[in-house]
Each structure stands twice: as C-alpha cells, then as structure tokens.
C-alpha cells in the first residue's frame, strides 16, 4: 500500500493494477500483518471506532482477495 500524495488517497499496487481505497480500508490494510485474523482485526477496529458493523471487515477482505489486492491464509 502506498499513499498517493498527488491525489491524496491510499492505493494498493500490483503489477498492472491500482486499487484506490478509502481511509477506513487503509486502516484495515495497515492491520494486516500476516498474524492477525480477520476477527481480530475487526475487534481491534471496533475498539477504535464507533461504527464498525459485524462482517464489515470480512466483506472488505473478500472483495480485495477477489481483486487480487490481498492474500488470506485459510488456517
């Protein structure tokens, strides 16, 4: 993930793709450290912000995996 200073937005970069993500998405990506589970990330964000509904993080992660912006280990 890089911060695109020229356009003031966060972007996930892969070989031929630029995925623009908002601040909330960037907060999720920052917590993806290869250790935390999706549930742990959601709990962490619920502790930080008021409006994180159950399933929000899972939906975002699923979308990103489909767009090949992220990889998730099953175990």
């Amino acid at each position: 993930m890089r911060y695109d200073a020229a356009r003031r937005q966060h972007a996930l970069l892969s070989p031929e793709n630029v995925l623009v993500i908002n601040d909330t998405g960037a907060a999720i990506v920052r917590l993806c450290d290869g250790q935390r589970t999706v549930a742990e990330i959601e709990a962490e964000l619920q502790g930080r912000y008021d409006e994180v509904a159950a399933g929000d993080v899972r939906r975002f992660v699923t979308d990103l995996v489909a767009l090949r912006g992220m990889e998730v280990d099953d175990d």
């Binding site: 890089r2 695109d4 200073a5 020229a6 356009r7 972007a11 970069l13 070989p15 031929e16 630029v18």
Partner: protein, 379 residues
C-alpha cells in the same frame, strides 16, 4: 465533452534501451533503432523518475529492449523505489544473474515479469532467434526463490497458439502468480511479419476453450490474462485507456510518447518531439502538442464522433490507424464501422485460407548500439 483538468498519469513505461539479445519477429520496438542509440544517462532517468512520481505516477515499468543491458539498472531501481513508485521489471531473463537479482531485490524491486516464447526449447529458441529457453527456466526459479511475485509473459501468434495448453501448464508448474497471454499486435516489426503471425479463426477458438478451462482449474492459484487479437473483434480495443489519459512512455533517447508504439506516428504528425532532455515531464504531460493531439473527443472523425461507444474505446488505436491508413486521426480500421475496415478484413481472410501454411518469419535485426556514458556507481 472534454475533461476539465488533466489528471496525472498512473503509470510510466521506461524503455531504458533498445539493445536486446533476442530477435523476436513480433518486436514492438521501432523499425529504425539507430535513432535511439543516444540513451539517457543515469542522472537523466533519475530526474524523469522523480518528476513522474511528483506528477502522480504510481507504477514504473522498466523495459526495453532488454533492461538488464543497462549497467545502471540496480541504481535506477533503487532511485525509483525510494521515490515511492511500485517497480516492475520486464525482462527476457538474459542478463538476470543471481548476483544482480539479489542486488535488485535489495534495491526494492517489487515485481518481475519474464517473457517466454513457447513451452518447449526448440520452438521457444526459434521464435526468440537465440538459445534462451534454458536460461529463462532458471531465471523463473531464481525469481521465485528470491520471493518476488512472478508474471510470465507470452506473446501469442500463429506459430505458438496451438501450444497454449502446454504453455499454461508450464507457467503453473513454475509457480507463476500471473500469466499474460497477449496476442501479437501488428506494429513495426510485427506488421512486417503479419502474414506469418496472424492466427486463423479456428486456432483462436481452440485457444479460447483452453483458456476458459484453465481459468476454472487454476482459480485462486494463477491469474490468467488473455488478450485477443483485435483483428478478430468487432470493436477496437480501448487503446491505452485513451490517448495521454492514464499512462505514458519514455523511450531510450528521451522522447516521451503517449503510447509505446507511437514512434512513427509521432514523426508522421510532424509535431515537435516531446523530449525529456528539453522539457519537464509535467509540461510534456499537460501541455505538449503531441500529448494534447488526441486527448478527449474533439479530434474524432465520424463514425466515432457520434458513436455511443466513444467513451468506451476512445476511437481505438491511433497507432493502428496510422500504420494501416497513413492517417492517425482516422477511426481504428479494426472497428467494423470504420470506412477502412476492408484493410483488416483482407488480412483476416488471408489468414483463414485453407491452403495457408505457417509462412516464413523474419527475425528482428539489431544494429550496433551506442552505450551511454558509464555514470552508474555499482555497489
């Protein structure tokens, strides 16, 4: 309707040199390579990268020719990486030694893309015009071992399209994360070899069936990008996502182009060149006549001007219009609505004659090259 402001480009293709050990018959580099021997120096490229990053470029594709022929490649990658861009090396694999690969990794190179010509040695070496298949196999293993995401890049044409199943298997066995299967586009050297390269409709239909099955089988393991030859489509490709809209190319001598195939077109327009030795990249992007020429819709002729698809395909490819009709401002002849469409139909008809053989391909020739001054400091 024109866009109110010119957004910055997302990607820069830096063609560092046109020197290359391969002689591929579909080479996308210009026919006259002598004009590009006076290559930008290390410092000049670094300035271009810095300006690109400031302009909004997020992805830098380092290509050629063969970018590993530049002695300063590690230095260039390090500089680009520090400026925050995602760096992608597009290489034949030749010159990608273990020592230099490790240096590139330490310099921050994000991704490696390796071209292979076919799934087996004899055919691959014949298309490449030089023994290279064995080395390419070793280089893919090296790239994986050093932890890079790996893309395999295969240009498809009449002489290897029937091998597409085996090509996909090879890439999957290599552990590739992506494979780009791009049918040849007919510019420059490829246009010269078109009769020997353009596949038949039967070949394409078989290939598409194989690709569909492989996508199912390899879902989640390897991403398959398959680019059909536009000669067989009803509408043109949305070339470059629009002229000077999302990306730009800088070629070895510093000329900036809105598209990597636009060398001859740019000359044909008779406009002053947009060279990074004379102008800043922001000026070239925002103000140069060459980049302004086909931006937006004002330049469009009929049938594009009134076509409801004009914001989908942007009138197709300017380089193709120029290559086939001599006029870059015409509708892409690939479009079935183009008044010049018969030019494409004739080529397709010839490729589908039942008695046609494979034809003879002319390997890409390379003149001697002028090396840039040795300014790189290797660690």
């Amino acid at each position: 309707m024109t866009e109110p402001i010119v957004d910055g480009p997302f990607a820069l293709l830096a063609e560092l040199t046109y020197a290359c050990p391969l002689h591929c018959p579909y080479c996308s580099n210009p026919l006259a390579l002598d004009d590009y021997g006076d290559e930008l120096t290390t410092e000049e490229w670094q300035r271009v990268f810095a300006e690109a990053a400031e302009l909004g470029v997020l992805q830098l594709h380092l290509s050629g020719g063969e970018p590993m022929q530049r002695r300063d490649i590690v230095e260039l990658v390090r500089h680009a990486s520090r400026s925050g861009m995602y760096t992608n090396l597009i290489t034949s694999g030749l010159g990608f030694s273990e020592r230099r690969a490790e240096q590139l990794r330490d310099a921050g190179l994000d991704h490696v893309q390796i071209s292979i010509q076919a799934d087996e040695r004899v055919l691959s070496d014949r298309i490449a015009g030089t023994p290279s298949f064995q080395r390419k196999q070793e280089v893919t293993r090296l790239a994986k071992r050093l932890g890079w995401p790996l893309t395999i890049n295969v240009v498809l044409h009449r002489q290897n399209l029937d091998r597409i199943g085996a090509i996909l298997d090879m890439a999957a066995d290599m552990g590739a994360d992506r494979i780009e299967l791009a049918n040849t586009q007919y510019y420059g050297w490829a246009q010269r070899n078109r009769a020997a390269l353009l596949p038949s409709r039967d070949q394409l239909e078989r290939a598409e069936t194989v690709v569909r099955a492989a996508r199912e089988r390899l879902r989640g393991q390897m991403e398959i990008i398959y680019v059909i030859p536009d000669y067989y489509s009803r509408y043109p490709k949305p070339c470059m996502d629009g002229w000077a809209r999302r990306q730009l190319t800088v070629v070895p001598n510093g000329d900036a182009l809105p598209c990597p195939a636009a060398h001859e077109l740019a000359r044909g327009l008779g406009m002053p060149t947009a060279n990074v030795r004379e102008h800043s990249l922001p000026w070239i992007w925002e103000e140069s006549p060459l980049f302004e020429r086909f931006r937006g819709e004002a330049w469009m002729p009929d049938p594009c001007r009134s076509c409801e698809r004009r914001q989908l395909d942007f009138g197709g490819c300017r380089c193709q219009a120029f290559a086939l009709t001599g006029d870059a401002a015409r509708t892409d002849p690939v479009c079935h609505l183009s008044p010049d469409h018969e030019l494409v139909e004739a080529a397709v008809a010839a490729a589908n004659e039942p008695t046609r053989g494979d034809g003879v391909i002319a390997p890409r020739s390379h003149p001697g090259r002028t090396r840039p001054p040795a300014t790189a400091v290797m660690p």
